[in-house]
Protein backbone atom coordinates (compact mmCIF):
# COMPACT_ATOMS: atom_id res chain seq x y z
CA UNK A 1 0.00 0.00 0.00
CA UNK A 2 2.75 2.37 0.96
CA UNK A 3 4.69 1.52 -2.16
CA UNK A 4 1.61 2.22 -4.29
CA UNK A 5 1.15 5.61 -2.68
CA UNK A 6 4.81 6.44 -3.14
CA UNK A 7 4.65 5.36 -6.76
CA UNK A 8 1.60 7.49 -7.41
CA UNK A 9 3.31 10.47 -5.81
CA UNK A 10 6.34 9.92 -7.98
CA UNK A 11 4.20 9.78 -11.10
CA UNK A 12 2.47 13.03 -10.15
CA UNK A 13 5.84 14.82 -10.24
CA UNK A 14 6.14 14.21 -13.98
CA UNK A 15 4.14 16.55 -16.15
CA UNK A 16 2.14 15.32 -19.10
CA UNK A 17 4.56 16.96 -21.50
CA UNK A 18 7.54 15.33 -19.83
CA UNK A 19 5.86 11.96 -20.07
CA UNK A 20 5.00 12.54 -23.72
CA UNK A 21 8.58 13.55 -24.41
CA UNK A 22 9.82 10.42 -22.69
CA UNK A 23 7.49 8.19 -24.69
CA UNK A 24 8.42 9.74 -28.01
CA UNK A 25 12.13 9.56 -27.23
CA UNK A 26 11.62 5.93 -26.32
CA UNK A 27 10.06 5.19 -29.69
CA UNK A 28 12.91 6.88 -31.53
CA UNK A 29 15.46 5.00 -29.46
CA UNK A 30 13.71 1.71 -30.15
CA UNK A 31 13.51 2.06 -33.92
CA UNK A 32 16.79 3.88 -34.56
CA UNK A 33 18.94 0.71 -34.90
CA UNK A 34 16.66 -0.44 -37.70
CA UNK A 35 17.16 2.65 -39.86
CA UNK A 36 19.99 2.62 -42.38
CA UNK A 37 21.32 5.04 -44.93
CA UNK A 38 21.50 3.96 -48.56
CA UNK A 39 23.74 5.40 -51.26
CA UNK A 40 23.11 4.47 -54.87
CA UNK A 41 25.71 5.43 -57.44
CA UNK A 42 24.04 6.43 -60.67
CA UNK A 43 24.99 9.39 -62.84
CA UNK A 44 25.29 11.09 -59.50
CA UNK A 45 25.21 9.76 -55.97
CA UNK A 46 21.65 9.31 -54.67
CA UNK A 47 21.27 9.26 -50.89
CA UNK A 48 18.22 8.02 -49.07
CA UNK A 49 17.11 5.83 -46.17
CA UNK A 50 16.26 2.20 -45.63
CA UNK A 51 14.83 -0.21 -43.06
CA UNK A 52 16.34 -3.42 -41.71
CA UNK A 53 13.69 -6.03 -42.55
CA UNK A 54 15.41 -9.18 -41.38
CA UNK A 55 18.34 -9.82 -39.09
CA UNK A 56 20.20 -11.77 -41.78
CA UNK A 57 20.84 -8.67 -43.85
CA UNK A 58 17.62 -7.92 -45.68
CA UNK A 59 17.10 -4.19 -46.25
CA UNK A 60 14.08 -2.36 -47.67
CA UNK A 61 14.35 0.92 -49.52
CA UNK A 62 12.87 2.85 -52.44
CA UNK A 63 12.83 1.17 -55.83
CA UNK A 64 13.02 4.33 -57.93
CA UNK A 65 16.16 5.61 -56.24
CA UNK A 66 18.23 2.49 -56.78
CA UNK A 67 16.94 1.65 -60.27
CA UNK A 68 19.86 1.31 -62.65
CA UNK A 69 22.43 1.99 -59.93
CA UNK A 70 25.99 0.90 -60.67
CA UNK A 71 26.62 0.21 -57.00
CA UNK A 72 24.74 0.50 -53.73
CA UNK A 73 26.16 1.09 -50.27
CA UNK A 74 24.25 0.55 -47.03
CA UNK A 75 25.47 2.12 -43.80
CA UNK A 76 24.08 0.87 -40.51
CA UNK A 77 23.32 3.07 -37.53
CA UNK A 78 26.54 1.92 -35.83
CA UNK A 79 28.59 3.16 -38.78
CA UNK A 80 29.35 -0.17 -40.42
CA UNK A 81 29.06 -0.02 -44.19
CA UNK A 82 28.28 -2.83 -46.64
CA UNK A 83 27.73 -3.30 -50.32
CA UNK A 84 24.03 -3.67 -51.09
CA UNK A 85 22.92 -6.26 -53.65
CA UNK A 86 19.45 -5.78 -55.17
CA UNK A 87 17.18 -8.79 -54.70
CA UNK A 88 14.12 -7.37 -56.44
CA UNK A 89 12.05 -4.23 -56.93
CA UNK A 90 8.37 -3.54 -57.28
CA UNK A 91 7.68 -0.33 -59.18
CA UNK A 92 3.95 -0.47 -58.49
CA UNK A 93 4.56 0.25 -54.81
CA UNK A 94 8.08 1.65 -54.97
CA UNK A 95 9.58 -0.98 -52.69
CA UNK A 96 12.99 -2.52 -53.28
CA UNK A 97 14.72 -5.30 -51.36
CA UNK A 98 18.48 -5.35 -50.87
CA UNK A 99 20.78 -7.89 -49.31
CA UNK A 100 23.92 -7.06 -47.34
CA UNK A 101 26.52 -9.41 -45.85
CA UNK A 102 25.75 -8.58 -42.26
CA UNK A 103 24.28 -10.75 -39.56
CA UNK A 104 22.55 -10.12 -36.26
CA UNK A 105 21.01 -6.89 -37.39
CA UNK A 106 18.12 -5.33 -35.52
CA UNK A 107 15.04 -5.78 -37.71
CA UNK A 108 12.20 -3.33 -37.37
CA UNK A 109 9.04 -4.64 -35.76
CA UNK A 110 6.15 -4.23 -38.16
CA UNK A 111 2.65 -3.22 -37.12
CA UNK A 112 -0.46 -2.61 -39.15
CA UNK A 113 -2.46 0.40 -40.28
CA UNK A 114 -5.75 -1.51 -40.18
CA UNK A 115 -6.61 -0.40 -36.68
CA UNK A 116 -5.21 3.07 -36.97
CA UNK A 117 -7.34 6.16 -37.25
CA UNK A 118 -6.52 9.65 -38.42
CA UNK A 119 -4.87 11.53 -35.58
CA UNK A 120 -2.84 8.58 -34.35
CA UNK A 121 0.74 9.40 -33.44
CA UNK A 122 3.45 8.81 -36.03
CA UNK A 123 7.21 9.02 -35.53
CA UNK A 124 9.51 8.94 -38.52
CA UNK A 125 13.25 8.33 -38.39
CA UNK A 126 15.33 8.84 -41.52
CA UNK A 127 18.35 10.58 -43.00
CA UNK A 128 17.12 14.05 -43.87
CA UNK A 129 19.80 15.77 -45.95
CA UNK A 130 22.28 13.12 -44.88
CA UNK A 131 21.73 13.82 -41.17
CA UNK A 132 21.47 10.27 -39.95
CA UNK A 133 18.76 9.34 -37.52
CA UNK A 134 16.73 12.53 -38.00
CA UNK A 135 13.47 12.13 -36.14
CA UNK A 136 10.17 13.83 -36.81
CA UNK A 137 6.89 13.53 -34.91
CA UNK A 138 3.47 13.95 -36.38
CA UNK A 139 0.18 12.20 -36.82
CA UNK A 140 -1.54 9.97 -39.27
CA UNK A 141 -3.50 12.42 -41.44
CA UNK A 142 -5.28 9.99 -43.73
CA UNK A 143 -5.49 6.47 -45.09
CA UNK A 144 -5.93 5.00 -48.55
CA UNK A 145 -4.65 8.02 -50.49
CA UNK A 146 -3.98 7.92 -54.20
CA UNK A 147 -1.11 10.08 -55.43
CA UNK A 148 0.80 10.59 -58.64
CA UNK A 149 4.60 10.77 -58.76
CA UNK A 150 6.43 11.30 -62.05
CA UNK A 151 3.34 10.24 -63.95
CA UNK A 152 2.83 6.98 -62.09
CA UNK A 153 -0.15 6.50 -59.78
CA UNK A 154 0.26 4.99 -56.34
CA UNK A 155 -2.79 3.80 -54.42
CA UNK A 156 -3.46 2.96 -50.81
CA UNK A 157 -0.83 5.33 -49.42
CA UNK A 158 -0.99 6.69 -45.89
CA UNK A 159 -0.77 10.41 -45.38
CA UNK A 160 1.28 11.81 -42.50
CA UNK A 161 2.03 15.17 -40.98
CA UNK A 162 5.62 14.17 -40.13
CA UNK A 163 7.97 16.35 -42.12
CA UNK A 164 9.96 14.54 -44.78
CA UNK A 165 13.09 16.06 -46.27
CA UNK A 166 15.25 14.95 -49.17
CA UNK A 167 17.05 11.87 -47.93
CA UNK A 168 14.06 10.64 -45.96
CA UNK A 169 12.72 8.48 -48.77
CA UNK A 170 12.80 4.90 -47.50
CA UNK A 171 12.71 5.97 -43.86
CA UNK A 172 10.47 4.21 -41.42
CA UNK A 173 7.35 5.56 -39.80
CA UNK A 174 6.42 4.04 -36.45
CA UNK A 175 3.33 4.16 -34.29
CA UNK A 176 3.28 5.06 -30.62
CA UNK A 177 4.53 1.59 -29.72
CA UNK A 178 7.50 1.72 -32.04
CA UNK A 179 6.04 -0.64 -34.64
CA UNK A 180 6.52 0.24 -38.30
CA UNK A 181 3.34 1.48 -39.93
CA UNK A 182 4.88 2.74 -43.16
CA UNK A 183 7.91 3.37 -45.35
CA UNK A 184 8.26 6.97 -46.51
CA UNK A 185 7.61 7.28 -50.22
CA UNK A 186 7.20 10.94 -51.21
CA UNK A 187 6.05 14.36 -50.11
CA UNK A 188 3.44 16.61 -51.57
CA UNK A 189 4.69 19.48 -53.65
CA UNK A 190 5.20 20.57 -57.19
CA UNK A 191 6.62 23.59 -59.00
CA UNK A 192 3.09 24.74 -59.75
CA UNK A 193 1.56 23.99 -56.39
CA UNK A 194 4.29 25.34 -54.14
CA UNK A 195 4.14 28.93 -55.27
CA UNK A 196 6.64 31.73 -55.51
CA UNK A 197 7.90 31.46 -51.92
CA UNK A 198 8.84 27.81 -52.29
CA UNK A 199 10.47 28.42 -55.65
CA UNK A 200 12.55 31.18 -54.11
CA UNK A 201 13.52 28.82 -51.28
CA UNK A 202 14.59 26.21 -53.80
CA UNK A 203 16.56 28.74 -55.85
CA UNK A 204 18.32 30.10 -52.75
CA UNK A 205 19.09 26.86 -50.98
CA UNK A 206 19.38 24.70 -54.07
CA UNK A 207 16.96 22.16 -52.73
CA UNK A 208 13.19 21.95 -52.38
CA UNK A 209 11.52 22.81 -49.11
CA UNK A 210 10.76 19.77 -46.94
CA UNK A 211 7.17 18.66 -47.28
CA UNK A 212 4.69 18.72 -44.41
CA UNK A 213 2.38 16.30 -46.22
CA UNK A 214 4.24 13.05 -46.39
CA UNK A 215 3.11 9.85 -48.02
CA UNK A 216 4.21 6.41 -46.97
CA UNK A 217 3.60 2.88 -48.20
CA UNK A 218 1.53 1.16 -45.50
CA UNK A 219 3.19 -1.57 -43.48
CA UNK A 220 0.94 -4.36 -44.79
CA UNK A 221 1.87 -3.54 -48.36
CA UNK A 222 5.55 -3.25 -47.50
CA UNK A 223 5.53 -6.68 -45.88
CA UNK A 224 3.46 -8.24 -48.67
CA UNK A 225 5.84 -7.00 -51.35
CA UNK A 226 9.03 -7.74 -49.39
CA UNK A 227 7.95 -11.32 -48.58
CA UNK A 228 7.02 -12.03 -52.19
CA UNK A 229 10.31 -10.66 -53.51
CA UNK A 230 12.32 -12.65 -50.97
CA UNK A 231 10.38 -15.82 -51.79
CA UNK A 232 10.40 -15.61 -55.58
CA UNK A 233 13.33 -13.32 -56.37
CA UNK A 234 10.93 -10.83 -57.90
CA UNK A 235 7.51 -9.42 -57.18
CA UNK A 236 4.80 -11.95 -57.92
CA UNK A 237 1.16 -10.85 -57.73
CA UNK A 238 -2.07 -11.88 -59.35
CA UNK A 239 -3.34 -9.80 -62.27
CA UNK A 240 -6.42 -9.62 -64.46
CA UNK A 241 -5.79 -6.33 -66.28
CA UNK A 242 -8.51 -3.88 -65.29
CA UNK A 243 -9.16 -0.63 -63.43
CA UNK A 244 -12.07 -0.57 -61.02
CA UNK A 245 -13.66 1.63 -58.41
CA UNK A 246 -16.01 0.96 -55.57
CA UNK A 247 -19.66 1.21 -56.56
CA UNK A 248 -22.85 1.26 -54.51
CA UNK A 249 -22.96 -2.46 -54.67
CA UNK A 250 -19.83 -4.22 -55.76
CA UNK A 251 -17.00 -2.86 -57.88
CA UNK A 252 -17.43 -1.10 -61.23
CA UNK A 253 -15.05 -1.77 -64.11
CA UNK A 254 -13.60 1.48 -65.51
CA UNK A 255 -10.97 0.25 -67.97
CA UNK A 256 -9.83 -3.05 -69.42
CA UNK A 257 -6.28 -3.66 -70.49
CA UNK A 258 -5.90 -4.79 -74.08
CA UNK A 259 -4.97 -8.45 -74.15
CA UNK A 260 -5.55 -8.76 -70.42
CA UNK A 261 -7.38 -11.70 -68.79
CA UNK A 262 -10.48 -9.63 -67.92
CA UNK A 263 -10.99 -8.50 -71.53
CA UNK A 264 -10.33 -12.01 -72.87
CA UNK A 265 -12.97 -13.34 -70.47
CA UNK A 266 -15.56 -11.02 -72.03
CA UNK A 267 -15.87 -8.43 -69.29
CA UNK A 268 -16.83 -4.94 -70.40
CA UNK A 269 -16.47 -1.39 -69.16
CA UNK A 270 -19.36 -0.57 -66.85
CA UNK A 271 -19.82 -4.12 -65.62
CA UNK A 272 -20.23 -4.42 -61.89
CA UNK A 273 -18.44 -7.28 -60.14
CA UNK A 274 -20.58 -8.40 -57.19
CA UNK A 275 -19.00 -11.76 -56.29
CA UNK A 276 -15.51 -13.15 -56.54
CA UNK A 277 -14.47 -16.75 -55.95
CA UNK A 278 -17.76 -17.49 -54.15
CA UNK A 279 -17.63 -14.47 -51.83
CA UNK A 280 -19.33 -11.12 -52.11
CA UNK A 281 -17.13 -8.23 -53.11
CA UNK A 282 -16.63 -5.44 -50.56
CA UNK A 283 -14.79 -2.57 -52.17
CA UNK A 284 -12.12 -2.04 -54.82
CA UNK A 285 -9.25 -2.34 -52.33
CA UNK A 286 -10.57 -5.64 -50.99
CA UNK A 287 -10.97 -7.11 -54.49
CA UNK A 288 -7.50 -5.95 -55.43
CA UNK A 289 -6.11 -7.69 -52.38
CA UNK A 290 -7.86 -10.94 -53.28
CA UNK A 291 -6.58 -10.86 -56.86
CA UNK A 292 -3.01 -9.89 -56.02
CA UNK A 293 -2.80 -12.58 -53.34
CA UNK A 294 -2.55 -15.22 -56.08
CA UNK A 295 0.96 -16.57 -56.46
CA UNK A 296 0.25 -18.73 -59.46
CA UNK A 297 -2.27 -18.66 -62.30
CA UNK A 298 -5.72 -19.99 -61.42
CA UNK A 299 -9.30 -19.92 -62.61
CA UNK A 300 -11.73 -17.86 -60.54
CA UNK A 301 -15.52 -17.76 -60.76
CA UNK A 302 -16.90 -14.21 -60.69
CA UNK A 303 -20.43 -12.79 -60.78
CA UNK A 304 -20.95 -9.67 -62.84
CA UNK A 305 -24.01 -7.45 -63.23
CA UNK A 306 -24.44 -5.96 -66.72
CA UNK A 307 -27.49 -3.84 -67.54
CA UNK A 308 -29.25 -5.28 -64.50
CA UNK A 309 -28.57 -8.88 -65.51
CA UNK A 310 -26.34 -11.14 -63.43
CA UNK A 311 -23.75 -13.05 -65.43
CA UNK A 312 -21.36 -15.73 -64.17
CA UNK A 313 -17.88 -15.52 -65.64
CA UNK A 314 -14.82 -17.77 -65.39
CA UNK A 315 -11.76 -15.60 -65.16
CA UNK A 316 -8.15 -16.72 -65.37
CA UNK A 317 -6.03 -14.79 -62.88
CA UNK A 318 -2.50 -14.57 -64.25
CA UNK A 319 0.77 -13.39 -62.82
CA UNK A 320 1.37 -9.69 -63.41
CA UNK A 321 3.90 -9.18 -66.19
CA UNK A 322 7.12 -7.43 -65.18
CA UNK A 323 7.00 -3.74 -65.96
CA UNK A 324 9.34 -0.81 -65.20
Amino acid sequence: MLMTVLLLLAVQDESLLERLEREISGVVRRVRPSVVSVEAKRSEMIRLSGIVYRADGCILTDAGAIAGADSIRVTLFDGRSFEGRPVGSDFKTGIAVLRIDAKSLTPAEFGTTRELRSGAFAVSVGNAHGLEGSASVGTLAGLDRSIRVSGRRYDGMIQLTTVAHPGDCGALVADSRGRVIGLIHSALGSEEAEGELFRLWKDFFGRPLGGAITFAVPAETVQFVADRILKHGRMIRGWIGMSVRTAESGVEILKLEIGGPARRAGLRRGDRIVAWDGESVGDAAALQKKVEACEEPRIVKAAVVRDGVRIDVDLRVEIEPERK
Partner: protein, 180 residues
Protein backbone atom coordinates in the same frame (compact mmCIF):
# COMPACT_ATOMS: atom_id res chain seq x y z
CA UNK B 1 47.76 52.87 -80.89
CA UNK B 2 46.45 56.42 -80.54
CA UNK B 3 48.01 59.49 -78.95
CA UNK B 4 46.48 58.72 -75.54
CA UNK B 5 48.00 55.27 -75.53
CA UNK B 6 51.39 56.65 -76.48
CA UNK B 7 51.16 59.32 -73.81
CA UNK B 8 50.61 56.58 -71.22
CA UNK B 9 53.73 54.80 -72.39
CA UNK B 10 55.96 57.87 -72.36
CA UNK B 11 57.09 57.61 -68.72
CA UNK B 12 58.07 53.99 -69.23
CA UNK B 13 59.75 54.79 -72.51
CA UNK B 14 61.73 57.68 -71.08
CA UNK B 15 62.65 55.66 -67.98
CA UNK B 16 63.88 52.76 -70.12
CA UNK B 17 61.28 50.37 -68.67
CA UNK B 18 59.06 49.90 -71.72
CA UNK B 19 58.73 46.45 -73.32
CA UNK B 20 60.24 46.02 -76.75
CA UNK B 21 56.89 46.17 -78.53
CA UNK B 22 55.91 49.27 -76.52
CA UNK B 23 59.20 50.99 -77.32
CA UNK B 24 58.79 50.23 -81.02
CA UNK B 25 55.20 51.54 -80.92
CA UNK B 26 56.24 54.82 -79.28
CA UNK B 27 59.13 55.35 -81.70
CA UNK B 28 56.90 54.63 -84.66
CA UNK B 29 54.16 56.98 -83.44
CA UNK B 30 56.39 59.98 -82.60
CA UNK B 31 58.02 59.70 -85.99
CA UNK B 32 54.69 60.62 -87.55
CA UNK B 33 53.00 62.66 -84.76
CA UNK B 34 54.66 66.02 -84.04
CA UNK B 35 52.56 66.70 -80.94
CA UNK B 36 53.52 63.44 -79.30
CA UNK B 37 57.10 63.96 -80.38
CA UNK B 38 57.14 67.35 -78.60
CA UNK B 39 55.54 65.87 -75.52
CA UNK B 40 58.05 63.08 -75.45
CA UNK B 41 60.85 65.63 -75.62
CA UNK B 42 59.39 67.44 -72.62
CA UNK B 43 59.26 64.16 -70.71
CA UNK B 44 62.91 63.58 -71.51
CA UNK B 45 63.94 67.05 -70.33
CA UNK B 46 61.81 66.77 -67.16
CA UNK B 47 63.38 63.46 -66.28
CA UNK B 48 66.85 64.75 -66.93
CA UNK B 49 66.16 67.76 -64.75
CA UNK B 50 64.78 65.61 -61.93
CA UNK B 51 67.81 63.41 -61.98
CA UNK B 52 70.01 66.45 -61.53
CA UNK B 53 67.70 68.07 -59.00
CA UNK B 54 69.28 68.56 -55.58
CA UNK B 55 68.79 71.58 -53.44
CA UNK B 56 68.16 73.71 -56.45
CA UNK B 57 64.75 74.73 -57.54
CA UNK B 58 63.67 73.10 -60.81
CA UNK B 59 63.51 75.23 -63.89
CA UNK B 60 60.13 76.88 -64.28
CA UNK B 61 59.47 75.42 -67.69
CA UNK B 62 59.97 71.89 -66.28
CA UNK B 63 57.55 72.49 -63.49
CA UNK B 64 55.03 73.96 -65.89
CA UNK B 65 55.45 71.06 -68.27
CA UNK B 66 54.87 68.50 -65.55
CA UNK B 67 51.92 70.46 -64.22
CA UNK B 68 50.21 70.46 -67.64
CA UNK B 69 50.10 66.69 -67.56
CA UNK B 70 48.56 66.55 -64.10
CA UNK B 71 45.16 67.61 -62.84
CA UNK B 72 45.13 71.39 -62.61
CA UNK B 73 45.25 72.34 -58.95
CA UNK B 74 47.15 74.76 -56.82
CA UNK B 75 50.56 73.69 -55.79
CA UNK B 76 50.66 72.61 -52.14
CA UNK B 77 52.90 74.48 -49.80
CA UNK B 78 55.26 73.22 -47.25
CA UNK B 79 52.51 73.17 -44.58
CA UNK B 80 50.74 70.42 -46.48
CA UNK B 81 52.60 67.84 -44.54
CA UNK B 82 51.70 69.46 -41.25
CA UNK B 83 48.00 69.48 -42.14
CA UNK B 84 48.10 65.84 -43.30
CA UNK B 85 49.89 64.79 -40.12
CA UNK B 86 47.32 66.61 -37.98
CA UNK B 87 44.43 64.89 -39.73
CA UNK B 88 46.12 61.54 -39.27
CA UNK B 89 46.67 62.08 -35.58
CA UNK B 90 43.06 63.15 -35.02
CA UNK B 91 41.81 60.13 -36.97
CA UNK B 92 43.90 57.75 -34.89
CA UNK B 93 42.64 59.37 -31.69
CA UNK B 94 39.00 58.99 -32.75
CA UNK B 95 39.57 55.42 -33.73
CA UNK B 96 41.23 54.60 -30.42
CA UNK B 97 38.40 56.21 -28.50
CA UNK B 98 35.76 54.40 -30.50
CA UNK B 99 37.34 50.97 -30.08
CA UNK B 100 37.69 51.56 -26.36
CA UNK B 101 34.00 52.49 -26.03
CA UNK B 102 32.86 49.50 -28.05
CA UNK B 103 34.88 47.07 -25.96
CA UNK B 104 33.64 48.63 -22.75
CA UNK B 105 29.95 48.32 -23.70
CA UNK B 106 30.32 44.79 -25.00
CA UNK B 107 32.03 43.64 -21.80
CA UNK B 108 29.53 45.31 -19.49
CA UNK B 109 26.62 43.62 -21.35
CA UNK B 110 24.75 46.88 -21.48
CA UNK B 111 23.00 45.96 -24.73
CA UNK B 112 25.34 48.28 -26.48
CA UNK B 113 23.02 49.66 -29.11
CA UNK B 114 23.95 53.31 -28.65
CA UNK B 115 27.63 52.44 -28.09
CA UNK B 116 27.65 50.32 -31.21
CA UNK B 117 26.19 53.17 -33.19
CA UNK B 118 28.90 55.55 -31.94
CA UNK B 119 31.53 53.19 -33.20
CA UNK B 120 29.69 52.45 -36.40
CA UNK B 121 32.56 53.59 -38.60
CA UNK B 122 35.08 51.43 -36.80
CA UNK B 123 33.41 48.07 -36.43
CA UNK B 124 33.97 46.04 -39.53
CA UNK B 125 31.89 42.90 -39.47
CA UNK B 126 33.57 39.81 -40.81
CA UNK B 127 32.48 37.83 -43.78
CA UNK B 128 29.01 36.44 -43.59
CA UNK B 129 27.72 39.09 -41.21
CA UNK B 130 24.20 40.21 -41.78
CA UNK B 131 24.97 43.79 -40.73
CA UNK B 132 24.40 46.43 -43.35
CA UNK B 133 25.24 49.63 -41.38
CA UNK B 134 21.61 50.61 -41.64
CA UNK B 135 21.49 51.84 -38.09
CA UNK B 136 19.09 49.19 -36.86
CA UNK B 137 19.92 48.03 -33.36
CA UNK B 138 19.00 44.46 -34.11
CA UNK B 139 21.34 44.37 -37.10
CA UNK B 140 24.19 45.65 -34.98
CA UNK B 141 23.53 43.15 -32.26
CA UNK B 142 23.71 40.52 -34.98
CA UNK B 143 27.33 41.64 -35.58
CA UNK B 144 28.32 40.61 -32.08
CA UNK B 145 26.35 37.42 -32.34
CA UNK B 146 28.25 36.56 -35.51
CA UNK B 147 31.56 37.35 -33.83
CA UNK B 148 30.65 35.24 -30.80
CA UNK B 149 29.74 32.42 -33.12
CA UNK B 150 33.09 32.67 -34.83
CA UNK B 151 34.81 32.50 -31.47
CA UNK B 152 32.89 29.36 -30.50
CA UNK B 153 32.16 27.63 -33.80
CA UNK B 154 29.09 25.43 -33.87
CA UNK B 155 29.93 21.95 -35.11
CA UNK B 156 28.25 21.20 -38.40
CA UNK B 157 27.12 17.82 -39.61
CA UNK B 158 29.24 16.30 -42.30
CA UNK B 159 27.14 16.40 -45.44
CA UNK B 160 28.85 14.74 -48.34
CA UNK B 161 28.00 15.75 -51.86
CA UNK B 162 25.21 13.95 -53.68
CA UNK B 163 21.48 14.23 -54.18
CA UNK B 164 19.33 13.49 -51.17
CA UNK B 165 16.28 11.69 -52.51
CA UNK B 166 12.63 12.39 -51.89
CA UNK B 167 10.19 12.24 -54.81
CA UNK B 168 7.59 14.94 -55.04
CA UNK B 169 3.96 13.89 -55.31
CA UNK B 170 2.79 16.05 -58.18
CA UNK B 171 -0.95 15.78 -57.74
CA UNK B 172 -3.25 14.15 -55.30
CA UNK B 173 -6.29 12.41 -56.67
CA UNK B 174 -8.73 10.65 -54.43
CA UNK B 175 -10.78 8.65 -56.90
CA UNK B 176 -10.73 5.24 -55.21
CA UNK B 177 -9.56 3.75 -58.48
CA UNK B 178 -7.51 0.58 -58.35
CA UNK B 179 -5.54 -1.19 -61.08
CA UNK B 180 -4.81 -4.92 -60.91
Amino acid sequence: MNCDDIRDLMPLFVGGEAEDNERIAVEAHVSVCSECAAELEEFRRARAALVDLRSEEPPLEVVEGVGRNLHPRPLLGADWFVRAAAVLVVGIAIGFLGVTLVRKDADSGAGGVPAVRRSAALVSPGPGSRSRFAGSGQEWNDVFEERETRRFPVPRADRPEGQHYLPRAETVTITGERDF
